[in-house]
Symmetry: C2
Subunit: 213 residues, 2 copies
């Protein structure tokens, strides 16, 4: 009982420290460019403990990847589900607002997702995972809502993928390209963040301008 208590009292478990460090480095620099030694040093633990807790670099990466995919694709699901009573347009506005907040807090996430989406492992189905299932379900209902709006003449008749693509592009691309945009325009980190916050209001307007009839 005392032993258990003492364990809980420790700030963070060794396992959690390793995972946090791995998440930081893998997300910033990717699998290949990250050394297990870097992860050990970053988390202040011994190199051997990484393999003790996670068996291999690959296994640890997969855990981080899964968490990041859920963060990128699924953190929004609940914000949508919590607002079932709102119209599709209002839901989109909320989604954009939450998503940009999330990306400001996790600016390396878009590039990481683009990176892993290019690997073979990523194509695996994941249909067993309940979270992945609910993400997939949301994507489907999102697609349906778009097609209904096309049917009813509310929005212009274009391939739904253009609509999804353009929304993702406008929201996500500036973060994936932030290094490029900053270095070529000489803009500061703070100015960049302010522009991204500005986009929370602008993107819904742009989307309507592009697709509304």
């Amino acid at each position: 009982m005392m032993a258990k208590k003492k364990e809980i009292e420790k700030d963070v478990s060794t396992e959690a420290k390793i995972k946090a460090a791995a998440k930081k480095l893998f997300t910033q620099n990717g699998f290949e460019a990250t050394r297990t030694r870097d992860i050990a040093e970053e988390s202040g633990i011994n190199l051997a403990l990484l393999n003790y807790y996670f068996r291999s670099k690959q296994k640890l990466f997969e855990i981080v990847m899964r968490e990041n995919v859920v963060l990128f694709m699924g953190g929004i699901v609940e914000s949508i589900n919590n607002n079932m009573h709102l119209s599709f347009e209002e839901k989109v506005e909320i989604l954009i607002d939450r998503y940009i907040d999330m990306l400001i807090a996790n600016p390396d996430l878009p590039f990481f997702i683009l990176s892993v989406s290019r690997t073979e492992e990523f194509k695996s189905d994941d249909s067993d995972d309940p979270i992945m299932k609910s993400i997939k379900q949301m994507r489907t209902s999102f697609m349906m809502a778009i097609m209904e709006d096309i049917q009813s003449g509310k929005i212009k008749p274009v391939h739904p993928l253009h609509i999804i693509s353009n929304m993702m592009s406008l929201i996500v691309f500036p973060f994936a390209a932030s290094a490029l945009l900053k270095s070529r325009t000489g803009i500061s980190d703070k100015e960049f963040e302010n522009l991204m916050i500005e986009r929370k209001k602008l993107i819904p307007v742009w989307i309507k301008a592009m697709f509304n009839n």
Copy 2:
């Protein structure tokens, strides 16, 4: 004389073969994930020759990177310069058309550029390179044209970076995210390419809808 002739008659020089293989692999998989042995095998040459011709993996990568940056940012300069007589709007239409053609021919380029733009080496000025200079110049005159159109009330008053960002987003992002889009929608390579060709006509319309007064 004969010796020279014979040399020229060879299909491709060893040096060119190595560079072509390096370009392919570096562009697909990046610096870290590419082995010098892979480059040697891909080009059908001996590993030692890579260092004989290019001194190091790093030097070879820098050459490939420079060529890719020029392809990504500069291949368009001439198409603009060759159409000085056209209006800004018409120039944008041509730019989008050429750019999407270029990206269909080089689908891995966007991700590669996003990748290297995150490294320290990329931030170097390059102001000595004449091609880089003309790219920078084009970017400036592009920015000027936007600001003039804002001044004259032709387009809405927003930060020019939003306009640049959105154009880049709509053009480039689907290619950077093609693996993600394909795997999550089950779309085929051919269907994807057709959608991208469709966008050559759609993006100018969207841009106008977003920003024209």
